[in-house]
Symmetry: C2
Subunit: 209 residues, 2 copies
């Protein structure tokens, strides 16, 4: 179906196939021929729409960011200071990795290749992190001797490793180095550790398991 003369539909078919392949194999590992096969279209048609392989790659990233931002618009960032902002932050990061695997993988490939530029909209998220954390520190909801950057890195890292080292960690579990652990249990446990580690100093207000 749609075998002829449907520019927009064709573009979307190509973008879909290319996104999968770039996520799986990276830029260098993906060929236009493979994108052509997976989308059921011809190579030249892909280049007609996107000019070059680079152009296709940029279009894929733009498309991902566009969809992601359209999604964000529906659910604005919660105001920091709901009391347990750190919990919100961990949960948000955890859900983001779970729900946007191709975006994360393409970003990972890009970062390894030396592309350190933030993706569209990322700055907004980080300013939200920083502002909310500083605010929580000001209110003495979390200790104020840990920099917001360290908190963000700690949380991002814990989440990143869980989703991106998944297969690798499963190998270690298979070899008996660790007991298996469910996604939910992991989320609960790192939340408990980080929240307690960030509790205000001096106060006896640590309670949760």
């Amino acid at each position: 179906m749609a075998a002829a003369r449907d520019g927009e539909g064709t573009r979307r078919k190509i973008l879909g196939a290319a996104e999968e392949l770039f996520a799986e194999r990276g830029f260098d590992g993906t060929t236009i021929r493979e994108v052509a096969e997976r989308s059921g279209l011809s190579g030249p048609l892909i280049l007609f729409h996107f000019q070059t392989k680079e152009g296709l790659y940029e279009a894929v990233k733009d498309d991902i960011v566009r969809r992601w931002q359209a999604n964000l618009d529906g659910s604005p960032l919660p105001k920091g200071g709901a009391g347990a902002f750190v919990d919100v932050m961990i949960e948000a990061a955890f859900a983001f990795y779970r729900d946007n695997p191709t975006m994360v993988r393409i970003a990972n490939w890009g970062r390894l290749a030396g592309d350190d530029a933030p993706w569209g909209g990322e700055e907004e998220i980080h300013r939200w992190y920083r502002t909310s954390l500083v605010e929580a520190q000001r209110r003495k909801e979390i200790r104020d001797d840990i920099s917001p950057l360290a908190i963000t890195a700690l949380i991002s890292g814990a989440v990143h490793v869980w989703w991106e080292f998944r297969g690798h960690m499963e190998e270690h579990v298979r070899q008996g180095s660790y007991e298996p652990l469910s996604d939910d249990a992991y989320l609960d446990q790192i939340t408990a550790v980080i929240r307690r580690g960030l509790a205000p100093l001096g106060g006896e207000k640590e309670k949760e398991a």
Copy 2:
């Protein structure tokens, strides 16, 4: 120098150039011609010694593991239970990433490409982690409601992100999303948070900054 007939020296020159390039650009992004240029040798000579590009890649990984294990033999794993095993673990992971950047990068490229197999000697490290953590839990030095896998992932993640998202995070700092933070300060801060987050429940023995 060594322009003719020095098999072992040639092998090492090739391996050195190839390790750099595979770390920078990954397997697909590296060409034998580039390895030839960087090592000052010819392409066919590389294939004479390693048969195929795949063979070269495997030889590079083997060589890295060999050097790394030779290094480990000099300093055996500390026995868990020096009191603050978690601190030791964080420091060890932090130093590992800092001191083995090409190994880490090649492993990252490989993992993205779907290679989840543990590298030689890795199992030993993870069994050390697990055993020491379980032991620390048994002695009530750290809380026992957090699984060793979660602790390992939390620590690995915090360290991984710090070294592997470095350029990316610097972009965020440059954009004003965060204040700069030194390596040492980051290490101190995540150690403080994780150690406190893992302190035994119920006890009032949290003290450090």
